[in-house]
């Protein structure tokens, strides 16, 4: 990804760190200021929130409808600041400890059977997870804990201490891993589960709004440079009308719109055919069978009303 817009930290910045950081806590990356990146258009408010989270050394919790670019924002923060991104994809079976380290007991047992390594050295079987690597790194990093709500309900609570103290102990070796530089932690959530209050109290929260038509045209333009303007306008109008239909179980989001336009282009659908009768390739936009009759009824309704 192009790094042209990445700002190098400005030491003469008037807002250099004045925060009363206690001597034991890891250095905060206050001097870093994020202003977006080449492939991500960031509103002023978003920049302020991200920079406040960086200055505070608090995790930034991102929430929003699926397809509003939560993961993309984390990538952009990393590129914009010129820092490496460590991604931790959370699954339903993920345990909090796995983000810190994994002790590969099976490999050790295997090695003990065939005796080609010194199994007495446990350290070689300890593999650091994304968060563990970020703590151990000498330079600032960006850690993305992706879809934190997928895991067990207790998962965020299990991470509270580590995120607060930025340090953890590996009982198997007695090693203590403490962050030299506070990593920038970004946490994304689809809101499938409510997150615990104790966890929410410690994070900086940002809700990614669904893009309005103006921003959406910019997003579409990024994906389809040189798109026929009539088609883009027609498709957007129909898309926002569809989103406004009451009672949909799953409203189409940005990624569905992008897919839809791609299909329309691939089949050479003329712009005039949108907006009359049934929409072509509706299945790209509406993914639930139950939603289809609702959409059809709603469209019939508006057409009758138009006459």
């Amino acid at each position: 990804m192009a790094d042209a817009t990445s700002p190098t930290p400005d030491p003469t910045s008037p807002r250099s760190p004045t925060s009363p950081t206690s001597p034991t806590s890891p250095t905060r990356t206050t001097r870093l200021r994020w202003t977006g990146s080449a492939d991500y258009i960031a509103a002023d408010d978003l920049q302020r929130i991200v920079n406040a989270a960086i200055a505070l050394g608090r995790p930034l919790l991102l929430r929003g409808e699926p397809g509003t670019g939560k993961t993309l924002l984390a990538t952009s923060i990393a590129t914009g600041l010129g820092l490496p991104l460590l991604t931790w994809h959370v699954k339903s079976t993920t345990k909090a400890k796995e983000g810190l380290y994994v002790y590969d007991t099976v490999q050790r047992l295997y090695d003990s059977r065939f005796q080609d390594k010194d199994v007495g050295d446990i350290r070689q079987y300890i593999h650091l997870g994304p968060l563990g690597k970020a703590f151990a790194a000498d330079h600032p990093t960006v850690v993305l804990i992706d879809e934190v709500d997928k895991a067990d309900v207790e998962f965020p609570n299990d991470l509270l201490h580590e995120l607060d103290a930025m340090s953890f102990t590996i009982p198997e070796t007695g090693d203590v891993v403490t962050a030299k530089v506070r990593p920038i932690v970004i946490i994304s959530s689809n809101n499938e589960k409510e997150l615990p209050d104790a966890f929410l109290r410690r994070v900086v929260f940002h809700y990614i709004d669904f893009p309005d038509e103006a921003l959406m045209s910019q997003i579409v333009a990024v994906h389809f440079p040189g798109l026929d303007e009539a088609l883009a306008r027609r498709a957007m109008t129909e898309f926002y009308r569809l989103r406004a239909v009451d009672g949909l179980r799953k409203r189409p989001s940005t990624s569905e719109l992008i897919d839809w336009i791609a299909v329309l282009l691939a089949h050479g659908v003329p712009p005039e055919s949108l907006g009359e009768g049934e929409l072509p390739f509706l299945g790209t936009l509406i993914k639930r069978e139950r939603d289809l009759p609702i959409v059809k009824d709603a469209r019939k309704g508006t057409q009758r009303w138009r006459k």
Binding site: R15, S19, L200, R290
Partner: protein, 415 residues
């Protein structure tokens, strides 16, 4: 900005947020102060708005309230107060009042819906404090057309449970509907909570690796790897789901639908059976409301093993007579001589592992019948957390229920 006025302004913001019902604590507040002191936030109102919201407000549902409080603190808008909540809280705490004679009821004014709405709003404007009893103000246990738990032939009920005394013996159209639906993805969280409801037992089948035993045997063989296998475990749990439908449950249809489709889509238990009832189960429960197929409750008590997990879903809110009188059922055609509470007691005694799931908010579990039922069944809210606790309660071994006799005084006449 002078030091004094700025601290006043910030105090207004903090207490304004708390007053409007946003759960802001000192931790978040100090974090905001730290952010401002660190210099990472430019000294402008726009920046304070964005960063303040990110630090203090943790749910998008509260963003609107934040906007209002912010406008009131730094502009000249009116500070919002969680008025509606207060009103609902107080009305949800009804005072039971002796029944009125038909003459008295007839004497009360009967109004059309529009008139009622109009007067409700007028009276809400006039009224400034809590009010119980009486015949004019909005309150509980009164004869005014407005409020909760009162007696008026044409009343506006404010919050709380539906179906006052006037609803007794509804023989009209039965608005029961089956809750079955195929919403699989929306029900994820519910399904996750229910997954923990299991009773594992060893069954025949493809053997699996027994890690504990393998470690033990390997140690005994001085490090020589010895693999041990055992038959797989399978969930032996049987679940019986009894659901209240129609009437006062209508607002919760979607919630119960979610629960039911999560349960039926789980495919995780040995057996899941679902039945429906209206307000309280009596001599029979329905397998499907549309076909009218029913099964006698006595038969269920006889043929289902006591090991079955029993889950009752309902708001437990009804006229006391529906629970306590012979033939108390709200449905004209249901003529069970045995009061509903006795049927519930039989269920509770037979099924040692049982619980009641209530879709109402726990703050509103204050009616007479809710309290009676909550004494019999542990009651949990129909939320992901509530279900989790419910499942926890069902799974762990609980002592058999006290076989306390039902207090005969409960069933005195006059309901």
């Amino acid at each position: 900005m002078a030091q004094v006025s700025s601290s006043l302004l910030f105090g207004r913001l903090f207490f304004g947020l708390r007053g409007a019902g946003i759960p802001v604590g000192v931790t978040e507040w100090m974090t905001l102060m730290e952010a401002l002191a660190s210099g990472a936030v430019e000294p402008s109102l726009d920046a304070l708005y964005a960063v303040g919201r990110a630090v203090l407000v943790k749910h998008e549902a509260h963003f609107d309230t934040w906007d209002q409080v912010f406008a009131a603190s730094f502009g000249d808008a009116v500070m919002p107060v969680a008025l509606k909540e207060e009103l609902l809280d107080w009305l949800a705490n009804p005072i039971e009042r002796p029944g009125l004679s038909p003459e008295e009821l007839a004497a009360l004014e009967t109004l059309s819906l529009d008139e009622l709405r109009q007067r409700f709003l007028e009276r809400l404007d006039e009224q400034t404090e809590r009010h119980d009893g009486g015949n004019k103000w909005i309150g509980t246990g009164g004869t005014s057309p407005f409020g909760h738990g009162g007696n008026n032939p044409a009343g506006v009920r404010v919050g709380g449970a539906g179906g006052g005394r006037q609803a007794i013996q509804v023989a009209g159209e039965r608005r029961y509907r089956d809750y079955r639906s195929d919403r699989i993805l929306d029900t994820r969280a519910t399904a996750l909570a229910l997954r923990k409801l299991r009773r594992l037992g060893r069954v025949e089948g493809e053997p699996e690796l027994d890690i504990e035993e393998t470690i033990d045997q390997t140690c005994k063989q001085a490090g020589e790897l010895t693999l041990e296998f055992r038959p797989p475990r399978e969930n032996q749990a049987r679940v019986l789901l009894l659901m209240d439908v129609g009437g006062s449950m209508t607002p919760y249809t979607r919630l119960v639908e979610t629960l039911f489709s999560a349960a039926s889509g789980l495919n995780h238990w040995k057996k899941l059976e679902a039945f429906y009832f209206h307000n309280c189960p009596y001599s029979k429960v329905w397998r499907s409301m549309s076909s009218g197929e029913s099964e006698p409750l006595a038969e269920i008590l006889k043929s289902r093993t006591p090991e079955t997990f029993l889950l009752l879903v309902g708001d437990a809110s009804m006229a006391p007579s529906e629970l306590l009188s012979p033939s108390g059922a709200i449905d004209w055609f249901e003529r069970s001589e045995t009061p509903g509470l006795v049927w519930l007691h039989r269920l509770r005694t037979h099924f040692a592992r049982s619980a009641w799931v209530n879709p109402m908010e726990p703050a509103h579990w204050r009616g007479y019948t809710v309290e009676l039922i909550a004494k019999l069944f542990p009651m949990f809210p129909l939320t992901v957390d509530g279900l989790g606790q419910c499942v926890e309660h069902l799974v762990k071994k609980t002592p058999p229920p006290p076989v306390a006799d039902l207090d005969p005084r409960l069933f005195r006449g006059g309901w």
